[in-house]
């Protein structure tokens, strides 16, 4: 099994609890996005979206802090070019 990362985290991090929370929070708001595309005035869905959006942002912040950047905008150049350090999502 290859290991060509320098982040100090293992490939297991990609399926660990921090990553799973981000995956779940991200999925909920994405599925809601599709529902809201066809039901844009559903007030319950809109409040649910607001709640889940902040959950996603927290989960992403935890992921970025513990594992690495999710989007380019998460990269802090003071840390060096971390974008390429964490495993790419298809790496086992």
């Amino acid at each position: 099994m290859e290991n060509n990362m320098n982040c100090g985290c293992t490939q297991n991090a990609l399926t660990g609890p921090t990553a799973m929370q981000l995956a779940q929070a991200g999925f909920v708001i994405f599925d809601l996005l599709l529902y809201l595309d066809t039901h844009p005035t559903d007030q319950n869905a809109l409040s649910y979206f607001a709640a889940k959006k902040s959950q996603y942002e927290q989960a992403k912040a935890a992921y970025v802090q513990q594992i690495g950047p999710v989007r380019i905008s998460d990269v802090d150049p003071a840390d060096g070019w971390t974008w390429g350090e964490t495993p790419w999502p298809w790496e086992v």
Binding site: T15, Y35, D37, G68, V92
Partner: protein
């Protein structure tokens, strides 16, 4: 434009390579009812969709299909790691291997390269959404077929997720079709093409 999130929509972590199954699953990458066709179809249709909400739906589902494309190729890649020539021959993977080694290439399980002939972007909202409903069911059936052939739970898990998403997309496109027809003449949906004609002919 697109921005990339360095994560899969749903995790893929496969420990046991299996190139025979990889070749089957490849059809959801570059095959007739696969994710490449799906994303290209929806992203192409959105420009002439006069209903802006449905154009948004096509953009968002098209984007999700790109994420699914990534999952399918991750599955294929993880199933074709560390192969020996003996395993390649024993698993019947040699025909793909000779042309692509262990590279991920958009083709069907039968080796037919991806073509835009698999999709249509007809510039007519009723037609385009009807095509999309059919596409989602074809993809769902393909995933059903894959699930019948696969025992490995590491493979079944992401495939089952992808299958569920096709069913949800079918639901959303059905709502989109209803939204389109509600804007048309209830006595004749086909009086004109709202994506092209300025008014009823």
């Amino acid at each position: 434009m697109w921005s990339y999130e360095k994560r899969l929509q749903y995790p893929v972590r496969i420990t046991n390579p299996n190139p025979k199954i990889a070749q089957v699953i490849l059809s959801q990458y570059g095959g007739p009812d696969g994710e490449l066709g799906a994303s290209l179809r929806y992203l192409s249709q959105r420009y002439t969709m006069p209903n802006r909400k449905v154009a948004g739906l096509l953009t968002d589902i098209g984007t999700e299909e790109l994420a699914h494309l990534e999952m399918v190729s991750a599955i294929v890649h993880q199933l074709t790691r560390n192969l020996t020539p003996e395993e390649i021959l024993a698993q019947g993977f040699q025909n793909y291997y000779v042309d692509h080694t262990a590279g991920v290439y958009p083709a069907s399980a039968a080796g037919v390269p991806f073509t835009a002939a698999y999709i249509q972007s007809k510039g007519d909202p009723i037609t385009d959404l009807s095509e999309d409903l059919g596409a989602e069911q074809k993809a769902r059936t393909t995933y059903d077929n894959i699930l019948r052939l696969v025992d490995d739970p590491d493979v079944r898990d992401p495939i089952a997720f992808l299958r569920e998403r096709e069913i949800v997309h079918y639901q959303r496109f059905g709502e989109g079709l209803r939204m389109i027809t509600e804007e048309l003449d209830a006595k004749n949906f086909y009086a004109f093409n709202p994506a092209f004609d300025k008014q009823a002919r």
